[in-house]
């Protein structure tokens, strides 16, 4: 560690900025500008001794192209800021950032978007369908965000601790276990939620309307599965509503 590294880096300020890391998302640098904003507090020590060049160069590099899962961006922010403090050559810092995009994106997508989020939302759906109402929604917000904030904080601290050797952090057993468990847990929770919400939403349908509901669902699912490259849930919903409105209007 160089003598420019403070004993207590401003990780709290960086964490707060990381909550808006995608605020200026664009098609060229993607999360780059947000990453630069988040990293900047960790780079201020580089200005010590009137050496503004190192600081400005590091800030400029921090805002270059970056794209990964937003909750894990802290890992790259911490690692590159530490690498700048340790005086790694600029090309090596750039390579480190580039190398982290893929693994952090893939890990975050599996762990959060395809795991933790649908798992907690599926459990909330089960709760609502079983009549828990508002407490189920509040429970979802609390439980989801405990995991969310913990992941962001862990990522930032791990990045700062390991610097250029950040790959070590990605091999942590707890992270590996969580990734392995989140998929099956999500499948079980959402699988259980689907029949329960079907009953919750179709409570007002009786007699032939229940048959019509089953037929519409089956036909919709078949179409979405068969034409999955072209048809989305939104398009299917709009087409079905338009057809239903037309049929209802024409029905004598």
């Amino acid at each position: 560690m160089s003598d420019t590294t403070r004993a207590r880096p401003p990780l709290g300020r960086t964490l707060l900025r990381l909550f808006t890391v995608q605020g200026s998302w664009d098609y060229e640098r993607m999360q780059g500008v947000g990453m630069g904003v988040a990293e900047e507090p960790l780079l201020r020590d580089l200005r010590r001794g009137g050496n503004g060049t190192a600081y400005h160069s590091a800030v400029a590099r921090g805002a270059h192209f970056f794209n990964a899962h937003p909750y894990l961006c802290g890992l790259a922010v911490g690692a590159t800021a530490r690498a700048e403090h340790e005086g790694l050559p600029p090309e090596q810092v750039e390579r480190l950032r580039t190398a982290l995009c893929g693994p952090l994106g893939s890990l975050g997508d599996r762990l959060v978007w395809a795991g933790w989020l649908p798992l907690t939302s599926g459990l909330a759906l089960v709760g609502v369908a079983l009549g828990l109402g508002l407490p189920a929604i509040l429970g979802f917000l609390c439980v989801y965000n405990v995991g969310h904030v913990a992941l962001r904080w862990w990522a930032l601290r791990a990045g700062w601790r390991y610097g250029a050797r950040v790959a070590v952090a990605l091999r942590e057993p707890l992270l590996q276990r969580a990734t392995a468990i989140s998929g099956p847990a999500m499948a079980l929770a959402v699988g259980a939620a689907l029949p329960l919400v079907a009953r919750f939403l179709s409570g007002d349908f009786h007699g032939p309307w229940r048959v019509a509901f089953a037929a519409v669902t089956a036909a919709g699912f078949g179409l979405l599965w068969w034409r999955r490259q072209a048809l989305t849930g939104l398009r299917l919903g709009l087409v079905m509503l338009a057809l239903a409105a037309l049929a209802g209007w024409l029905w004598p």
Binding site: Y27, A198, F205, L224, A244
Partner: protein, 225 residues
């Protein structure tokens, strides 16, 4: 519905829209939360919960990875709940779904516009960014968040306005069986989208067996209740 309530819904929809991408991504943008709170604001938690669950199913059709384009269901659910609440009765669910899906589509397109505007702003500030000027960096970032906030407000306002229009032209214009058809189509499409989206996420192999176990368990509980 009073103007005060409309303004509170507009503010809530704006916060929900900001949460989707700009931050803090604490999932108030999830239909389950956005719709329930909108219902609570209107004093109609039941309608809020129903549309929240309906749009949560549509949300399962989306995996927001990389730079993929997708509809925005947060402000859409707020608008849907507002439309359904004002058209109290059985027309609520179908009308809400109609308003919400169109608003969701508009929301998705507006995200694309904001990202292009952000790209232009970044291009204009290219030299200052390459010089490592932190003030320019922060200004660009704040500008992006402001643009997204304005976008979310416009999308929510559009949805609330669409709800008023749809109510004016559709309520009373459909016979009872037409209303029932609309509700069946809304719930059926949502369930189909939710199931297909989840199955795409689950894939094949062991995870599919866990999904099947969940469906069996959920069906038994639903049947016993």
């Amino acid at each position: 519905m009073t103007l005060d309530l409309q303004l509170v819904l507009l503010a809530w929809g704006t916060l929900v829209g900001l949460d989707l991408v700009s931050g803090p991504q604490m999932m108030i943008a999830r239909p389950l939360v956005a719709g329930t709170v909108a219902g609570a604001i209107l004093g109609d938690v039941w309608t809020g919960l129903q549309l929240a669950v309906l749009f949560e199913l549509f949300q399962y059709d989306i995996l927001p990875v990389g730079a993929v384009r997708y509809p925005e269901y947060g402000p859409a659910t707020v608008a849907a709940v507002s439309a359904a609440h004002a058209a109290a009765g059985t027309l609520g669910l179908g009308l809400g779904a109609f308003v919400g899906l169109i608003t969701g589509m508009a929301g998705g397109m507006s995200l694309h516009v904001v990202r292009r505007l952000n790209a232009r702003a970044v291009q204009r500030s290219g030299p200052a960014l390459e010089a490592g000027d932190p003030r320019v960096l922060e200004r660009l970032h704040a500008g992006g968040i402001l643009r997204d906030g304005a976008r979310a407000a416009v999308v929510t306002a559009l949805g609330l306005g669409l709800g008023q229009l749809a109510r004016a032209y559709l309520v009373g214009g459909l016979p009872p069986h037409g209303v029932a058809l609309l509700n069946v189509a809304a719930v059926g499409a949502a369930l189909a989208a939710g199931t297909a989206g989840t199955l795409r996420l689950v894939g094949r192999g062991a995870t599919l067996r866990w999904f099947a176990a969940g469906v069996v368990g959920g069906t038994i509980v639903a049947w016993l209740r």
